[in-house]
Amino acid sequence: MSRTRLPLAALSLASVSALFLAGCSQSTNASTDTAGDTAASASAATGTKPAPFGKGAVKVALVRQSGAGDYFEQWGNGAKAQAKALGIDLTVYDAQADNAKQATDLSSAINSGAQAIIVDHGFPSTIQPEIDKAVKKGIKVVVYDVETTTKGVISTKQDDASMAQAVLDVMGKELGKDAKVGYVNVAGYAALDKRDSVWKSTVDANGWKQAFKVGKVTDSTATDNVPLVSAALTQHSDVTGIFAPYDELAKGTVLAVQNKKLQDKVKVFGADVSNADIQNMTAADSPWVATAGTDPSAVGAAVVRTTALELAGQLNKTSVEFPAVAITQDFLKSKNIQNMDQLRAALPALNLSQVSTADWIANVAH
């Protein structure tokens, strides 16, 4: 018996070691690829780098509430590419929509020796105390789409009010006054709350009747909202438009409308834009007629540039906003746009190449 048991023990230990090695090497390959992309697309820096840049890698932590979903993936890719171009050693913490984990992630980031921390989304009550701790320790903190009261924190966000307004202007024209409308949104996220206040005033201004409000945010938001919206549409199949001011919510809404075969009667108005969103909007029979957005990868890159400027002491302001642009299904179809690259070419306002930049920053904006 012992002859067979011993090799088995050795085998199991060996196999787990092999898995560790496999894990490590896979990650190395991935980061090499990113570096290649960056070198190809970055516009060269000409100026001399101020401290702390130029001497070794600058350590920055990116603490995210969730990196899942097309929008956040591109945001992360933009941030990573810009970090690479700047010589920043970026450690990414992804809580996978687990808010308790984000709190401990942020705490770990503070203790990791990072010179700056970027906080991407998060519940204010969850992360506020940790942000205070970071600032007290002298770490530069840049938040994206987070409401914070701490002095010294740099606040960056896409201009959510302008985003909601842009798409709701289109919705107003499409539906007219006194329409019966549906709403898919959740409370408690700064960006969504802002879009919510624009929604409320638009509903009042147009005399719309809100037939239902559903929605939830999970680690797979799009799929998880399909049953909610389907159920609401069973009850209220006579709505003419639905506002879903976050692309994962909009995707779920689109699927629900199609499941219910209501795509000829119900128009979906979303927010945000990504490759998948463009595909979704231009697909045959898509009820998603308008969205408004920023380019997520341009925003991710701009947030990292903002952090770099703050580290170098050259930012000289406490908030940076990224304006949104309205995009309609008709525009996408008439220009035959199928992805973000083509959209950036057709709408140069999206690339944010003039936001948070300097001559010593190699800019990855297209």
Binding site: R5, A10, S12, A14, S27, T91, V92, G113, A187, G188
Partner: protein, 348 residues
């Protein structure tokens, strides 16, 4: 890496020494293999990453795993009676919602919230006990059912919304309360520099160990898990003890929920769902520690620490979370090989 070296010399040994040393090494591998993996990983991360050795990072790691560990203790108790509690994550999530509802909507103090959360946890445990002991539904299926019921109930309580201080409620009024400072200290405070949640984790581990390994009740639970029929014939009230295990598991899960609530600081309808698999994983990993091959409290606690070390270490190394899932899964499988394949062969 270094883990293979322990077994490698034996491969090259002559048959005669192998025959003599084999069983001893074999037993040592089974007994200490997992502790060895933990210590090796810890040393590797500590040597290669200066920020990993920082005591603050280590405390953060313990703080991060405290919830999964406490839920894992509950799972361990139910595994001891031969069952399994799949509802622990949902019960912890229910705890977050009940805490938020009590303090934010009803404007009560923290103590009331703590009592409400623990009562909710005990009730969830009673529901499990009713389904399993009285209605004879298999443990895993019954607790899977209650998991869904509890998640739904939680959403009904709050109209599907995360309760935030100052939110506009469904009747148009503004929520009057907020999470009290005292309540938030459950996770955010420290005792002698150690986060309160880590202290709770340590204390509950000791209490659960004394209960399961050093009292008659604990031995009875194990006896039921090993052979319910023999236990019944020996005059043990099997049903009552199994019910006890599920109620205690519910209470432990609700304590995990209290820590989650204090960590998040507001209602969060998605809280707790990610904890289930980690809790079950740490309890399963725990079965391999010290070659017991059965659920045990120290194993569960060590399993949680190991998962924490892996998560923190790999994050500092810059590996994305999905590679961490692969590594955690591999460690779980390794632990199961220790517990089932190797231990079974030894006793066979």
């Amino acid at each position: 890496m270094t883990t293979t070296q322990s077994a490698a010399p034996a491969k090259t040994a002559t048959p005669s020494t192998l025959a003599a040393a084999g069983p001893r090494i074999q037993n040592a591998v089974i007994k200490y293999g997992f502790i060895f993996v933990t210590v090796t990983l810890f040393t590797y991360f500590a040597l290669s990453e200066p920020s990993f050795r920082d005591s603050a990072t280590l405390l953060d790691t313990l703080r991060y795993v405290s919830v999964a560990a406490i839920l894992g203790l509950g799972v361990t108790l139910t595994m001891a009676v031969g069952g399994m509690d799949m509802s622990v994550g949902a019960v912890a999530g229910l705890g977050v919602t009940v805490a938020a509802k009590t303090m934010v909507t009803y404007n009560q103090v923290g103590v009331v919230a703590i009592i409400a959360v623990i009562v909710a946890g005990a009730l969830a445990g009673l529901l499990n006990a009713l389904l399993i002991v009285v209605l004879k539904i298999p443990d895993m299926l019954a607790t899977l059912g209650t998991m869904f019921v509890i998640q739904g109930t939680k959403l009904i309580l709050v109209d599907g919304q995360s309760i935030t201080p100052g939110m506009t409620q469904s009747d148009g009024t503004t929520a009057p309360g907020r999470f009290t400072e005292g309540f938030l200290r459950i996770d955010r405070g420290t005792i002698l520099g150690i986060p309160v949640s880590v202290v709770i984790f340590g204390a509950l581990t000791v209490v659960a160990w004394v209960f399961l390994a050093r009292t008659r009740w604990g031995r009875v639970l194990y006896a039921i898990g090993a052979n319910p029929e023999a236990s019944r014939l020996a005059g043990i009230r099997v049903g009552a003890y199994r019910a006890l295990a599920y109620v205690l598991s519910g209470v432990l899960a609700s304590i995990g929920g209290l820590i989650l609530a204090a960590r998040i600081g507001q209602g969060d309808v998605s809280a707790g769902t990610s904890q289930l698999l980690e809790a079950v994983a740490v309890a399963l990993v725990g079965t391999s520690v010290l070659g017991r091959g059965r659920p045990n409290v120290w194993g569960t606690a060590l399993g949680a620490v190991l998962i924490g070390i892996i998560t923190t270490g790999l994050t500092i190394k810059g590996l994305p979370y999905y590679t961490q899932d692969v590594v955690e899964g591999a460690v779980l499988i390794l632990a199961l090989i220790f517990s089932f394949t190797l231990s079974k062969r030894r006793t066979a």
